[in-house]
Structures are given as C-alpha cells and as structure tokens.
Symmetry: C2
C-alpha cells in the first residue's frame, strides 16, 4: 500500500464540501475533535451528528476505530474519521466512562484543555501540580482499553508525568517545539525528548498562533523546523496534526476558550483586537494542500521514506499499536 495521508487533528466546521476536499486531497484519515467543554450527553450528541454524516455521505467518509479502517478507507476511496476529546469533560468524575467512550469509538483524550481539569493541569494555569489522583487512575484505564493520552494543551510538569506514568506511548497531537516559536501551547525540548524517547508522537500544528510569524509563516520555515525536530527526536516520531478549523465562525473559538468556565472574556492565544480565528498561512488553507507540505519536506532534504512517515505512515503505525486493548 502507498503510504497513507493522515491529519491527526482537525476541528473544521465539517460539511460535504470539506469531505469532498478530503477526497480531492487524498486524505485517508482525519482525527476530529468532538469535545471541548461538552459533558457526556452533549458529546454523545456530537457523535450522533457524525453518525448522520456517515449515513448521508457513505462514499466520502467512514467511521474509523482501528488502523485497519485507514486501509479500508484507502481501498474504498474514502476518508476514515477518528474521534478525540480536547478535554476530559465528557467523562467527568466517572472512570467507567473511559471504556464506554472507547466503545463509542473515541481514540484520543487530552487530560486537560487549557485549564486545570480533574486529571491534570492545563498550559494556561499559573501552577502546574502534575497528574491528580484521578489522573493517574485514568491514564492506567486509557492504557488498558486503548485510548491514547494526548497532552497537546497540558502544562509542562503534567505532560512529563503523563509520559512517565503511561505504560504505552502517548501523543501531542497538535503543537510545535517552543525552540522554534515560544508560544504557551508549544512544547519544550525536554518534553519532546521525553515524549519521543518513550515512543510517543508529535503532530505538527499549522494553527497560526503556533507558527513562527503566525499567519505569515513560510512553508520553508515550517519545514526547516520539521527537519530540526527530526534531527533531535527522530523522523519516525513526527506527523501532522494541522488543527484546521476551516469554516468555523469566530463564535466557536470563543466557545473553545471560554466554554462555561468563566463569565469574563478569555482571548487564549489571541488578543482583544484579534479575538477571532487567525487566517491560515497561504500554503495550507484546506485538505487539498497537503501536497505543499510534502513538497516542502522534499525541499529541506527529507528522503521519501521519511516523508511517507511524517505525512501519515507514522500515525498509522501508532494507531496500529495504540488503539487496541493492552
């Protein structure tokens, strides 16, 4: 099989138009976010919405729950959709919901969004107290059932403890190294070394707040960063997690940041005068643009095997190892 193309994080306002763009772009699998602040029942409503998409567009997309589904999607000319949470809010304080959510197809769960959660500390808190009592139990349960721990939005100590506590490799599905662009959401060299040494995966984000020079970031700057990361951590631990939020109205980025946890406004990575979604860089507007990244990786000197891995092969290997019971 030709190497798969996998984007391991999107939160677009999905529509038949975007599903067609996935097909036009040859995207074999996408990990989509189905919870930011949703409780369990609200998250199930989001799953119901996806079930309707699968029923209505069976020639474009299919539900993905295991690595084999990426292969089946490719063979049948479809895109496999995998589910993940950016916040553990759907499980609340009930560890039994980890397995229930896995049975419903959820394959990634961040232990925190930006704030302290019941499990760990988010990257916007002043104090990072690491994994909580429940956090340690939930990591073990996620390991048991085959749900991947994702620390994309978590704080430094919590992330290091999750890497250490987890018996299976974990992921940072969408972030970049802070030595390239020192955003609060980007990750330290220490975290990325620990992550990849333990077999974990880093998905590079193309969300402008995570990019050097933001929306003006050049493809070559992005790809030079990927090359440096490959030198430091090994190309086999790298993939894409674009964080594509295509077609979302600005009310959604407000929901992502504010949820129901504050009555005040929080601008997250934005500012009061730039509160909305930032414009994407010219070389990545939608699912048809992965070819640009591939060409950029060629230009900075990666060989074909390394590029195949970064564009999806590494995520597929990770899916193969991560999504089944321990």
């Amino acid at each position: 099989m030709k190497a798969p193309l996998i984007d391991n994080l999107q939160y677009a306002k999905f529509s038949p138009r975007i599903f067609r763009q996935m097909r036009e772009g040859g995207v074999d699998a996408v990990h989509v976010t189905i919870a930011y602040h949703e409780n369990f029942r609200e998250m199930v409503l989001n799953l119901e919405g996806w079930n309707r998409w699968f029923e209505m567009h069976p020639k474009l997309i299919m539900r993905g729950t295991c690595a084999g589904d990426v292969r089946r999607a490719r063979e049948t000319g479809r895109t496999a959709i995998f589910f993940g949470f950016q916040n553990p809010s759907p499980i609340g304080d009930d560890i039994g919901l980890v397995e229930i959510c896995h049975q419903l197809g959820v394959r990634f769960m961040q232990l925190t969004y930006n704030n302290q959660s019941l499990l760990a500390t988010g990257c916007y808190e002043d104090e990072d107290t690491g994994l909580t009592r429940m956090g340690r139990q939930v990591v073990a349960e996620m390991n048991r059932v085959g749900m991947v721990v994702d620390m994309s939005h978590s704080a430094e100590r919590s992330t290091l403890e999750a890497i250490d506590q987890s018996a299976r490799p974990i992921a940072i599905t969408h972030a970049n190294p802070d030595w390239w662009h020192p955003a609060l959401r980007n990750k330290s060299d220490e975290v990325l070394r620990a992550l990849t040494r333990a077999g974990g995966m880093l998905g590079f984000s193309i969300y402008p707040h995570h990019l050097k020079d933001g929306s003006a970031c050049t493809l070559s700057s992005f790809c030079e960063m990927v090359a440096e990361a490959a030198d430091r951590y090994g190309a086999e631990h790298l993939g894409i997690g674009s964080d594509l939020c295509q077609d979302q109205p600005d009310s959604v980025v407000e929901w992502m940041r504010v949820g129901r946890w504050t009555k005040a406004m929080d601008y997250g990575e934005g500012t009061a005068d730039k509160a909305g979604f930032p414009p994407m860089p010219s070389w990545f507007a939608n699912n048809r643009d992965f070819g640009n990244i591939r060409r950029g990786l060629v230009a900075v000197g990666f060989d074909g095997g390394e590029i195949d891995g970064i564009m999806g092969g590494n995520w597929l290997r990770f899916y193969d190892e991560g999504f089944g019971p321990a």
Copy 2:
C-alpha cells in the same frame, strides 16, 4: 459445532456465583436486561457495571455483540452476554440514540414496558393506539442499524403494527401463548401467528406469572405447551427467554413495576398480598437447570434437531440475521 444453549432473557442479580452457574449449566449466551426505567445516562452506568464484570471475570463471561461471539464464547468456555432494554426510556425522544446504543452493544429494545411509551402502547394500558409517529421512525432506524424490536410487554395492536411495520423479523423475547395461560402479558394466537409468519421469534418465559398454575406449573405442562406452539407456529421460531430474576430482592420487582411513573403502588402481575417475586417452579431455579427443559422436550416427542433449535440454535440463527446493519 454442537447446538448452542441460549437464554434470551434474564434479569438476575448477577454475581460471580451466577456466572459460574451459567458455566456449570453450559449456557453459551444470555440476553440480559440493562434498562427498565433508566434514562440514557443511568443505562450507561449499567453498561459500566457490566464492563467491570467482564474485566473481573474474563474466564466466565464476555461481551457479546454478534452471533460470532456465541461461537467464540463456546470455543473459550465462557458465556456471551448480550444487552437489551425492556423499555425505550434510554433513548427518550432522541432517535440518534438508537445507533449510539447499538454501538454500545444493545441488541434488543422493547418499544414499551407495561405503560404507554413515546413509541407504542404497553399491555397494561386501557387503550392501545398502536405505533406512534416516533415509533414508526424508531422501528425503521432499528431495522437499519440491526437492533431487534422486542414486543414482550406491548399491547396487541401495537405488537401487530410493529410486526407489520418492521422490515426485519422481530421478537417476543419472553412471554407465552395466552391459549395456555391467559395472563395480560401472554400473547394471542393472532399475534404469535403474525410474528412467526414474518420470521420472528418467541422466547418462552418461565416467570411464574406467565405459567399455567404459576409456581406450581409442571415441566410436562410447560413442554406440552411448547409442543402445541411448535404445531401452530413451527419449532424453528421458538426459543427460551426464561425471565430469570434470580437473587433479586423484592425492591427490584417494585422498581420494575413502579419506576418513577407513579407515586401509588402498582402490583403488576402480582397482588397486594403477593407483591414480591414469585418462587420459580421446582424444575427451573437457575442456569444449571436447562437440562430439565431439554429432557422435558424429549418426553413430549420433539426430535433432536428441533430441541437443539429451541434450546438455542434458533436464537443463534436469529442473532446471525438480526444484529448487523440492514
């Protein structure tokens, strides 16, 4: 493979002791009730409880979602547990929950318990208005995803309409013919003819209120009734749905009858002076007693193939045909 032994309805107070009795009795599969009046979240809690049983007792029981799981259970010396609702309360007014519940492993759903539901009329109501608008939509959705319509507690017209409306065979998982014992819960000849003519299945109940002479019902009376049913409807449409409520305290039968729908007491099939669970007949106390039924069926003249079918082969065929997408 030797013919399987399947009990297509139990609501015991399950415990390792009962799971061991299932193994001692050679029971390959049991359909267990996980909702009487529970809403969606409460039903999920019941599923969480079962997940814990599966985790703690992997040598005795396993989660069953397809006919192949009965075969796998048999090959590995375990009992496969299938889930069903005796009331559509977990889906409320949300048709999207039909597929979600199917994804969680639910394979049977009664359109009503004893009362009017959002979908149809229960057998204790004065007026039976047949399937509701939502009821017709839900039957079609259950047909689509592979969840079996069960009319065990529904009223006559509703049951006939469900048989007619369903594009796939339906089930009455636990009831007996009313020509043998005229209980409100037992079924008319007209219903049973329509059910079986459409490929549906009847599971014979051993709950004393459904038996001629109640707890004193003899094995030969029960088996003669089965023989008469085979003559009328064909042995291939018959199975067991014992309705075993072993070890349940009487508070549970009150919950089954009263739920949260009334502040008054309702005795259901019981009476004020016999409000609790009735004692089971001497020949069927628990999962080790299916051999008695087999011997009783031999005594009334069934041949080996017919008995294999009634004891589980017919349910297995029905599982094979009923649990997948249309």
